[in-house]
Amino acid sequence: MNEAGSAKVTANQGEATVKNASTFRVTTPTDQEIRMTRVFDAPRHLVMDAFSKPELLKRWLLGPPGWEMVVCNVANKPGERYRYEWRNTATGHQFGTGGVCRETSPGRIVHTEVMDGQPGESVVTTDFVEEGGKTTVTMTLLFESKEIRDMALKSGMERGVAASYNRLEELLASGQA
């Protein structure tokens, strides 16, 4: 009885996840921006909690598989500094990012961001709009130049998994040669 009940819940959650995943959009609205839009099946205050409380951030803001968040100092007031750091559990490689909180209001978080090893500071504006119990999150990353924006787009590569894929590709290529 219990088993059947829990199986049903899992199936429903699975559907919800797939449905939400299909709402995900990544666009480059201008030369200097990256914009991400995603719908979450939860009210705004819970989604904003998940974006601002360290114990919650540590559970989802992890990037590629194999990374854990080891530093999560949040800034929830204008002028405060935040710092996030991740560590690759396999390689021990560490990566971090940080900046200053510029604005917090119901429905909006604005902060600056400087990623380790990358030039320039970006401004990240995150808007949370609730409608019918669902929350649409829009993150707009504004970079100092197009060149820096493009580097950030490619930064998935520098963040670990991708870097090891690269090494693997190189190994395979040299083996074939």
């Binding site: 959650q13 919800a16 996840t17 939400n20 995943a21 995900f24 990544v26 480059t28 030369d31 990256i34 991400m36 995603r38 979450f40 099946d41 939860a42 009210p43 819970l46 989604v47 909690d49 998940a50 919650l56 559970r59 989802w60 803001l61 992890l62 990037g63 590629p64 598989p65 197009k146 060149e147 493009d150 787009l153 490619k154 930064s155 998935g156 590569m157 963040r159 991708a162």
Partner: protein, 118 residues
């Protein structure tokens, strides 16, 4: 590696323009001459040719064999190379957001049960 990165920069720069993206979209459904490409745009042939040159330099398009029409065709492999970056970026964030979906389900349940106790 340096050259590779410069090639990617050229691809991104070429695709930053809406007209050039429209041209790429058109060529995705088959090769076309400059005249055919110019038609849907309110643009002169020389203006279109300028855009084509940028796409050609980035390696995104090439010229077909037909000497008269000189049809342009899409170099799909080069395009795939560029969109891979955006796709990877997307994948990383989708991973984050799917974990967030699961966390939010948990938070909603917690909130409901604490509300029920009250």
């Amino acid at each position: 590696m340096q050259r590779r990165s410069q090639q990617l920069d050229a691809i991104f720069a070429a695709l930053a323009d809406p007209t050039r993206r429209a041209i790429v979209a058109r060529l995705a459904s088959g090769e076309a001459s400059v005249m055919e490409l110019a038609k849907p745009f309110a643009m002169s042939q020389p203006a279109i040719s300028k855009h084509l040159k940028v796409l050609e330099r980035a390696g995104l398009i090439s010229r077909g064999q037909d000497r008269q029409r000189r049809p342009r065709r899409l170099e799909a492999r080069r395009l795939a190379e560029a969109t891979r970056w955006l796709e990877r970026y997307r994948k990383i964030w989708e991973g984050n957001f799917q974990r967030l979906d699961a966390l939010l389900e948990e938070l909603k349940t917690q909130e409901k049960s604490s509300g029920a106790k009250r």
